[in-house]
């Protein structure tokens, strides 16, 4: 009886072993996209965060997200949002992030971030967001907000906050006299990032000892 079971198990293992020769356990670089799920996410606009929210989070000291800059290294060196990590599209698939982390992606405009978002979504990263408007929007709204010369008293608080936020990130509010000045053309140099960024990782994860 016992020998019989052993024999059956051995035959089963051998059969699976032979079949294994034709198999490939790694999925490689191919990914699967759930189009319906994507459509729902995009329709409900829950795939992005606004620059205002992001600025608030950074100021409040929230650190429950990873901010990834998908532009290339030189652009990253030039300027990046505080706390951002340099993760160009080419290395993004292998970038050390966990699938349950909250990930915010940004690029100059939005296209590269959207492509990166698609890629991570397809690879099973659940909490992935894009920065709405990207770095351009960040510059326009956070670093160099245009503040009209004559503001009504009701609006004062709002603009005071804008100014404070801008100062926090080393930007400078633009006071235009009704004419909207394009911040990119403004002579103001890009602020130097003073906050801890890629040199001190956002969250130094304690090396998790796995296995036995």
């Amino acid at each position: 009886m016992k020998d019989n079971i052993n024999l059956k198990l051995a035959i089963m293992a051998l059969a699976l072993g032979v079949l294994a020769i034709f198999g490939q356990p790694y999925s490689g670089n191919t990914v699967v996209l759930n189009t319906k799920e994507l459509a729902v996410i995009v329709d409900n606009a829950i795939d992005h965060v606004t620059v205002e929210d992001l600025a608030d989070w950074i100021i409040q000291g929230k650190r429950d997200f990873r901010l990834l800059d998908v532009r290339d290294d030189s652009q990253f060196q030039e300027y990046h949002i505080p706390l951002a990590e340099c993760a160009p599209l080419s290395i993004l698939p292998d970038y050390p992030i966990d699938r349950n982390e909250k990930i915010i992606l940004y690029s100059d405009g939005g296209i590269h971030a959207a492509q990166a978002w698609m890629l991570l979504k397809a690879k099973g990263y659940r909490h992935t967001y894009m920065l709405l408007g990207g770095l351009d929007e960040w510059k326009d709204t956070i670093l160099f907000p245009v503040i009209p010369a004559n503001i009504s008293p009701e609006e004062e608080a709002k603009y005071a906050k804008l100014k404070a936020v801008s100062k926090f990130f080393g930007g400078s509010p633009q006071t235009g006299e009704g004419t909207v000045e394009t911040p990119e053309m403004a002579p103001t140099p890009m602020p130097q990032v003073e906050m801890p960024s890629q040199t001190t990782p956002v969250r130094k994860k304690k090396a998790r000892k796995e296995g036995c």
Binding site: N6, L9, A10, A13, L14, L16, G17, V18, A20, I21, F22, G23, Q24, P25, Y26, S27, V32, D98, R99, N100, G124, R126, H127, E210, G211, C212
Partner: protein
């Protein structure tokens, strides 16, 4: 998709509960295989009872086939499964040390916990030895750090190292296991009967 933890299906705390349940199961089956007894375990080294070899090798083959086929079916993302980095020479040395401790003490770390849980005195003593050893290792680590980190090979698997197809290696391991089982039974008959 698996691994569940890496896909965020549960968090750190829940993962500990899952580990606890799996650990209880592991211990239960070790005990049922007779591995709560130092006599049974040490008999392996005297070649009178090859149960340890058989149980461990069938566990390896079962896990290997399971992981391989789950990966092939796209359920398990193998690239996310944690691999212990290889440091060849220190790990060979550590393996020999563990083996020597195994023969002398009669248990390996997992089975010593099983023995302790079933109330065996030698198991309790063994666990105290394990704790003392862990402590000593930790305290001496600065001195042996250079050795412990020598010959690093990274997170490498047999198929990668031998530059072979994963499936071929799976097949070879299955064949080795079956041949090993036949040889083990033959040795048992020659050297002496099972001790259970």
């Amino acid at each position: 998709m698996a691994p569940f933890y890496k896909y965020g299906l549960f968090n750190d705390e829940v993962s500990l509960i899952v580990a606890f349940i799996i650990g209880i199961g592991f211990g239960f089956f070790l005990e049922r295989a007779g591995f709560g007894s130092a006599r049974k375990l040490v008999a392996q080294f005297y070649l009178t009872d090859m149960a340890v070899f058989k149980v461990m090798f069938s566990a390896i083959v079962t896990a290997m086939l399971g992981v391989f086929y789950l990966g092939w079916m796209g359920i398990l993302d193998l690239s996310l499964v944690y691999l212990t980095p290889t440091y060849l020479i220190p790990q060979i040395f550590g393996g020999l040390l563990l083996g020597a401790g195994f023969v002398i003490g009669g248990y390996c770390p997992g089975t010593s916990v099983v023995a302790m849980a079933t109330g065996k005195l030698d198991g309790i003593v063994y666990i105290m030895g394990v704790i003392a050893g862990v402590f000593t290792f930790g305290e001496l680590y600065p001195l042996i750090q250079n050795f412990a980190q020598s010959t690093p090979m990274g997170k490498i698997t047999l198929p990668q190292y031998m530059n072979m197809d994963y499936g071929i290696v799976v097949f070879i391991v299955v064949v080795i296991a079956i041949v090993g089982f036949i040889a083990a039974s033959w040795i048992e008959k020659r050297v002496g009967g099972a001790t259970s």
